[in-house]
Each structure stands twice: as structure tokens, then as C-alpha cells.
Amino acid sequence: MSITTPEPGKKINRIGLEVQPYRGGKTTLCAGCGHNAISERIIDAFFEMGVDPKRVIKLSGIGCSSKSPAYFLGGAHGFNSVHGRMPSVATGAMLANKQLVAIGVSGDGDTGAIGIGQFVHLMRRNVPVIYIIEDNGCYGLTKGQFSPTADLGSVLKNGVVNDLPPIDTCSLAIELGASFVARSFSGDKKQLLSILKAALSHRGTCMIDVISPCVTFNDHEGSTKSYAYVKDHEEPVGDISFVPFFEDISIDYEPGTATEVRMHDGSRLFLKKVAADYDPTDKSTALKLIRDSGLRGEFATGMLYIEPAKHDFTTLLNLVDEPLATLPLERVRPGRDVLDAIMESLK
């Protein structure tokens, strides 16, 4: 790896990299698509956290959203897999090399429809991957059909009304065992950035549902996933302050007004309480919060649930510390004595 001396004035991060290797190819998505804003936040978060792109893998399924890994972190390996099946590919890759940092990008169709089975099991296993749903309530790439996260009564451009209830991916993820669950909005730069940085400090599945309007097919009057509607109905559950492990900053909250969460890598997360009884480390309160805001016709955004100490899948499988992929022959092929003993037992 070559680290060139930065030109004066160019920003470099804690591992001495400029922002360039965090950027990707030029986007081919529509101008104004929420997905582009999410890519930018991903670039910011990885740059600011000083994650080496050479240690990162970017994975996706199929959809406009799933194209976006080509538009960030050009210095990282990427895998645009098949529709709805990115979770299995991410799982396999992380088993092969648990030292990698995995970020997966999916869409609400990719996750909620064809991929719901794999999504469910990814959450259940708590595989260490940052799983982002770029949620626009429709299928962008196949030209605007409803997806399973479309709200009841939401209207398509051609007047078709959605008459099935939506799947709430956050509730599902919490229920199933994901240890970091958040919801955000592509237009909320500050909140989304804090969530992404916190996710980089967590070990386990980080499920982040980001409402990300489709300007081409689902941004009109009558849609519940348009910019205007989302701005009106977003209900942040409270301020998020994230202090990375490499910064020594003290945060002052009045006692009892915030929850402090110590992350896997030593970073700290301060979650300001919206209500006195709100506890983001408690499944029931988190689920209730999501449901209650839904009943009011709003949607809660922010850190919804976090379980920082939960064992991730690679720990559960008791894997050796080194990547399985590169273990030398003598550690993966038992000796001649083993074969002899097995043969003897079969005679």
C-alpha cells in the first residue's frame, strides 16, 4: 500500500488516507435519488472512522440500491450478487475471513420480497455485517412496482393503491436477533452519519433501514415514501452522539436524560432519551416505540435497539482468530496418523 504525502490542505484521516480511496465510480442512478445521499454518508463514515478500504468488502443484491456499492469505497472488493441473496454471500465471506469489515446494501424489494428468507436468517445469526436497506417502498430498477414495505393506502403514480400491510424490517430484525437496529432518512445527514459510524464500532448484524425516496417512481403526492411525506412524518427518537474510541471527548448529559452505550471497539454512544422509560437496549420498549409511532402515522428514526455484547456468528462458531481462508496446509489437513486411524477403524 502506498501512502503518498498529502498535498497541503488536503484532509487525511487517522490512518493517513485521503478521501479518494473511499470514493467510488460515478453514480448512474437518477439525480436526486436517495441512494446517492446514502453512498455519500457511507464514504464520510468510513473515512472519518479511518477504516482501511482494503479490509472492507461491499456486497449487494440486485436493484438500483444494490448498484450503489460501485459508487463508494473504490479501494474495496465488491460483490454485486443475485436478487435477494446477498445475506448468504456476506455470511460465507465473513466465515472465510472474519477480520474483514462487511457492508451490504439492499433494497426494500431485494430484502422484503425475494430476499426475506435470507434476511431473516442473517438477523438470526447475528453475522457481523452492516446491512443497509435503501427503502423507497417500490422497485426502482423494474420501474416502480410496489414493494413489501409500501404503506397501506400509498398510491402509485398510475393510481394503483397498495392494499397490503407493510413489513416493518426494523421490528423484524429486533425480533429475530439483530444486535444493532436503526432507521434513518437519506435526507438526515447528521443522524445517518452517526448511525453508520456507530455501526462501524459494533460487532454483529447492524440492520439500518434508510428511507430513501425514489424520485422517478415514488416521490409524488399520495406516496408515503416521498421526500415531502418523510420530512413531515419522521420522528427522531432522540439525539445521537457518537464518540469514536480514538477521540477523547467528554459528553455531558444531565443525569437520566441519556443512555450511554459502550461499543465493541471501545467507542461510546450517547443516546438522548425521548421519554423517561425509553431504553434502546430493551427489545420490548424498542418494538413498542416503533409500533406506537406507526399507529400515529409517523415513523421513528434513530438508534432503535442495541445489544453491544451479544456474540456474533463467528464467535458462536468458535472460529480460530486467523482468517479461515488463508490457514496454511498443515492446519487444515490432518496428519497421516489420522487417516491411518480412520482406515483401521473401517477394516
Binding site: 482494503k54 460465507g92 472465510a96 435470507q118 479461515l324 490457514l327 487444515v332 482406515m343
Partner: protein, 618 residues
């Protein structure tokens, strides 16, 4: 042992069928019977014919003992042990004249036919005497027929005891009970039955040093020795015993000595799509990864298989073939996935298949498969079947692998220099195989996607980029011909007729060739395929013969079709088809009869040779 009622003895050449009820615990008795004959030095095979059911439905176990080493299923049953009231009548009516029947006395089977030898045994009475605990009787009852057969066939009781002890390990109480049942059975037969059939066992030395093993266990062992690190699977008969045996081996032999942690990850996935997805993810990230399944799982893996082909991601897939989808005959054997796998997925795809025939080849092929997967950066399919995977076969002990692992073309400084700038799909060696990098290896990254990419791995929908790429993939497939295991050829001097087969069909063909040569005066040459793509040996073999019989276990002659697609019509016009597809393992008699029938037709038609799709040998 002199046999009253028979003048000639038939030594070490017979088949036994035991008919019981699924879940009745007959497995121990059957294995003890098989093993004791094996220990006496006689070549054997044991085949389980079982229903898709856990308990209550009929199941049959057949043992073949053959002094010449022919261990394919024998069509004729020489000795039936009828323990299942439900099927007893039908089982007895299906026997050929002269066969012997050991049966549960109350079934009164002796009234069914005059041309058989009947040995009634009052199993319930005998078991009540040796086993006081009524609840345990069901479990030891089956040992009684082993005792009876020990007496009737002259199988050394000490060998049975030895087999029983190794089977039961440290369960002393159970051993004691079973031994008592064994002895009681023998005693009863000695006192009450008069030997009237000709079948006897005499010690030989033909199994010295050999092992008994199932193909799935051998495959699992091969995977462990190949250094597999990521395994994802979904349960399905007849594949499950491969990953399940692998789990046992890995837990025992692949825990890291210093840390006590696992040098492997094994995941029971949510379905076969996820299983193969995990294999792709792991293979892409540099691991030796595998899954094991059967036909229904193969269908689900179609889309990912295409992605593996185009994006060039390594992995190994075992397909333990069985009969068709859903309910029906999921627990019966077939070679019915050949065409599906060869062409698996959409678009221009072709898959590399390896075709083991023996348990030893299950072991070596597993290791070959991982090397080939990394060499060719694609999924490698190992096609076994239920007969090979789940039944018990004799084999020479396996050799310890001495070849280092082939990790394929991983980008290094030298390759990078030759290339100039890294291009993931740039063919600098002209063999169609390009260099890959692995996440975390510090080498240049690339973006992996399906069919639309150029040499540098960049997104492209340009016609010339696509054509270049699929033509290179075709070139890579050509290169594979030089790497896959070549066929095994036995050229009979002067033979005008050739036989082509693969997988478990081999055992019936071997035996049939001896029938054809010795009984019908028809010497045949033999080519046993071990892989697709075919190597040049195949057209050369066809060239050397006038007529060739492709013998396989499916309805439509799938391998023959594949040859028609690939070879010159002047060659394929010499090919004829022998097919067996009733769910039972193919037997030699069916092959011989079918070949002789077709030979007669060929004779009648003179030199006019074309492939006649003739009726199946069922």
C-alpha cells in the same frame, strides 16, 4: 457342510435379501451379517432399499457375496429373510425357483409355493426365551435371523460376535442380549432346520486389508483432507450423511491444537440457495468452500451457479443423485441429473462435473474437486448417487494425499508485472484462466458482478466485451479437459463392441462384460468416464469400435445426449443406449440381456448402424 436335498454346493456366490419394517432396528443385524462374511474374506456389498419414511414402512436390505468380487446388485434373490408380514407374500412370489426363505413361522409362507426351500423360524418364541424384558425384544429379535443364517450358510459365529462387538462398542448389556439371541438362532436352526439350499460360505482371502465404507463418508473424508474450511448445507436424503459425517470428522480432527478453536465453519443453511450463496461468498473471499445436496437442491442452486460461472468464483457442490422431485422415490437411486448439471443455470453456461464410481474415488475426487475449483475459479460438481453414497462398499484403504493444494491463479507481483495494470478478467496466459485477488490480501481490489463486465472487471454492456468474455470462458472450459480425471479404459484385444459407463453403473458393467465374454462369446472394451468435459480419450475410443453401448441409470440416455452435443455425428452414430431407471441400482443381468438383444438386432440389420432408442432395461 453336507446339505441334505442338494448335491451341488454354491460357495461364496449368492444374494441375501432381508425384508423388515423401517425403524425396527434391523440395521445392526444386517451390518453384522455383512461384516461377518467380509471378515471371512469374501467380497461383499450391502444395499439398503428404504422408503421415504422414519418408521413403519417396508424396507429391504440386500447383501451380495461373490467370490469373484462382483458386488453390483444381483437381480435374483437367492435367500430371502421375510420378517415383514406386509410384504412377505409379494416378496416370496417374486423369487426365482430354488430360492430359500427364512421366515417368521406364523406367516405360513410355505403354502405359497412348491418350488422354494422354506425355513420356518418361531422368532417370537425364541426371543421371549432369551430376552426377559418384553420392551427390548423388538430390538434383539433381528439378531436371531443372523444366528439362523450362521447355521444355514456356515458363517463362523465367532466372526458374527466380533462384528457385533465392534458395532456396539462399549454397550455391554446390549452386546450380551444380542449375543444370546444370535446363539439361540443358531441353536434353533441346528436342532430344527434341515439344510436344503445349496448356498454356503467358505473362508477366502479376498478382503485382506480392505475397508468397508459408504461413499458419503469417503467423500467427507476427502473434503477434510482437501482442507475445506467453509461448509454450508441443507438436509436432504441421500446427501445428508456426507455433511453429517464431515461434521463428526471435523470436530474430532480439525480443532486447532493450541487454541482449541475450529479451523472450519459449518452452517446448516436455511435452504439450498443460501447454502450455495455462502459457498460463493466464502470462495470469493478465498476459502475452500463446499455444499452437498441432491436433485431438488441442484434446481434451487441454478441462479447462483450461473453467477459462479460468469463472475468466476470457486466452490464445490456434491450432488448425491436420487430419483425426481417432491414425494415419490426420494430414497431411490438414479443418474438423472447429468444434463441438468452440465448445463446448470441460464445463458451460455457449462459446468465441470466429476463422476466418482467407487468409495475410493469419492475420497480422491473430493480432493480433485477443490483443486479444480480454485484452478478454474468456478463451481465443480461431484456427481455421486444414493447407491454409492449411502450403501456399504469394499475398498482398498485410502492413500494419504501427497500433492500440495492447488490454490489456482492468485495475483502476485510477477503476474501483475506481466499484466501491466490489474485486469481481473485479462487472459495473459492464453488458457482462459485469469488472475484473481482476494479481499484482505492487499492486492488491487475489483468489483465482482455477473455477465456484464470487461477484462478489467468494469461494468460493460458492450457486445464485444460480452463476446470476448464468453469466448474466453469457453476457452477455459477447453483447458479443463487437460485437468479433469481422464477415463479409465480397458481395451479388449480384437473387440468390435465397446461399453461406456460412469459412476455406480460401473459395477454392473464389469460383471456384464464377463457374462458377455464368457457366456455369449462377445468380448467388449470398456471406457469409464470420470469427468465432463470429455477428454480426447472418448472420441478415440469410439473410433476404435463398431458399436458402443452407453449404459446409464436414467430414462433418456442423458450422457449419450451430451456426447451427441459435443462429438462428431460420424462418431455418435455408433452409440447405442442401455438405460435402467426403476429406482433400484442397476444389475449386470439387465445390462447383458439388453446388449445381447441389441446385438441381435444389429446382426439382423447387417452393417446398418444407427443408434436405436430401445426399450429400457427395467
Amino acid at each position: 457342510m453336507p446339505a441334505a436335498g442338494t448335491d451341488i454346493l454354491i460357495i461364496n456366490d449368492f444374494s441375501i435379501q432381508v425384508a423388515t419394517v423401517n425403524g425396527s432396528g434391523s440395521q445392526t443385524a444386517n451390518l453384522v451379517l455383512l461384516r461377518s462374511i467380509f471378515q471371512m474374506g469374501i467380497p461383499v456389498s450391502g444395499k439398503n432399499l428404504f422408503p421415504s419414511n422414519i418408521a413403519g414402512l417396508p424396507t429391504w436390505y440386500t447383501i451380495r457375496a461373490n467370490k469373484d468380487g462382483y458386488v453390483a446388485r444381483k437381480k435374483e434373490i437367492d435367500l430371502l429373510v421375510a420378517m415383514n408380514a406386509e410384504t412377505a407374500r409379494e416378496d416370496v412370489l417374486a423369487l426365482g425357483p430354488g430360492a430359500a426363505v427364512v421366515y417368521d413361522e406364523p406367516l405360513k409362507l410355505d403354502q405359497l409355493r412348491q418350488d422354494l426351500v422354506f425355513y420356518p423360524v418361531p422368532f417370537d418364541r425364541i426371543v421371549a426365551e432369551v430376552c426377559k424384558d418384553a420392551k427390548l425384544r423388538r430390538l434383539v429379535k433381528n439378531m436371531i435371523y443372523d444366528g439362523v443364517l450362521s447355521q444355514l450358510l456356515n458363517i463362523d459365529l465367532a466372526q458374527m460376535e466380533h462384528a457385533l462387538r465392534r458395532q456396539m462398542g462399549k454397550k455391554l448389556k446390549a452386546i450380551e442380549l444380542n449375543l444370546a439371541a444370535l446363539e439361540a438362532g443358531k441353536k434353533f436352526a441346528a436342532e430344527h432346520l434341515v439344510k436344503q439350499d445349496p448356498y454356503v460360505v467358505e473362508p477366502m482371502d479376498k478382503t485382506q486389508g480392505q475397508i468397508l465404507m459408504e461413499g458419503n463418508a469417503a467423500g467427507a473424508l476427502g473434503c477434510m483432507m482437501a482442507g475445506v474450511t467453509v461448509v454450508a448445507w441443507y438436509p436432504i436424503t441421500p446427501s445428508s450423511s456426507l455433511p453429517e459425517t464431515l461434521i463428526q470428522y471435523m470436530k474430532k480432527y480439525r480443532m486447532d491444537k493450541t487454541s482449541g478453536k475450529a479451523t472450519f465453519a459449518i452452517v446448516q443453511a436455511e435452504d439450498e440457495i443460501a447454502a450455495v450463496g455462502m459457498v460463493l461468498g466464502a470462495g470469493w473471499a478465498g476459502a475452500r468452500a463446499m455444499t452437498s445436496t441432491s436433485g431438488p437442491g441442484i434446481s434451487l442452486m441454478g441462479e447462483f451457479t450461473g453467477l459462479s460461472y460468469y463472475a468466476e468464483v470457486p466452490g464445490v457442490v456434491f450432488d448425491i443423485q436420487r430419483v425426481g422431485p417432491s414425494t415419490g422415490l426420494p430414497t431411490r437411486t438414479a443418474q438423472g441429473d447429468i444434463l441438468t448439471v452440465a448445463m446448470l443455470s441460464h445463458g451460455d453456461t457449462k459446468q465441470i462435473m466429476l463422476l466418482p464410481a467407487t468409495v475410493e474415488e469419492c475420497y480422491t475426487t473430493a480432493m480433485d474437486a477443490f483443486d479444480l475449483a480454485e484452478r478454474f475459479q468456478t463451481l465443480i460438481f461431484v456427481l455421486s448417487d444414493l447407491d454409492l453414497g449411502m450403501n456399504t462398499w469394499m475398498s482398498n484403504p485410502f492413500e494419504y494425499p501427497t500433492k500440495p493444494l492447488d490454490r489456482g491463479k492468485l495475483l502476485d507481483q510477477d503476474a501483475l508485472q506481466r499484466m501491466g495494470e490489474f485486469g481481473r478478467y485479462k487472459d495473459i496466459d492464453g488458457d482462459g484462466i485469469t488472475f484473481r485477488t482476494i479481499p484482505g490480501d492487499g492486492m488491487p481490489a475489483y468489483f465482482t458482478r455477473g455477465s456484464g463486465h470487461n477484462e478489467r472487471g468494469q461494468y460493460s454492456e458492450r457486445p464485444d466485451d460480452y463476446v470476448n468474455n464468453v469466448q474466453r470462458l469457453a476457452r477455459k472450459f477447453e483447458t479443463a479437459r487437460q485437468y479433469v480425471p481422464p477415463p479409465v479404459i480397458d481395451q479388449a484385444p480384437g473387440a468390435r463392441v465397446g461399453i461406456i459407463a460412469y459412476g455406480t453403473t460401473h459395477f454392473a458393467v464389469e460383471e456384464s462384460r464377463s457374462h458377455l465374454a464368457n457366456d455369449a462369446g462377445l468380448p467388449t472394451s470398456y471406457l469409464r468416464l470420470r469427468a465432463y468435459p470429455f477428454t480426447d480419450d472418448l472420441p478415440a475410443f469410439i473410433e476404435r469400435h463398431d458399436r458402443l453401448y452407453v449404459v446409464e441409470q436414467n430414462r433418456d440416455g442423458q450422457m449419450l445426449s451430451l456426447m451427441r452435443m459435443e462429438l462428431d455425428p460420424s462418431l455418435t452414430s455408433k452409440l447405442r443406449s442401455v438405460r435402467h431407471f426403476n429406482g433400484l441400482p442397476i444389475d449386470a443381468r439387465s445390462v447383458t440381456d439388453e446388449i445381447l438383444t441389441q446385438e441381435k438386432q444389429a446382426g439382423l440389420q447387417g452393417a446398418r448402424s444407427h443408434a436405436v432408442p430401445v426399450g429400457p432395461a427395467v
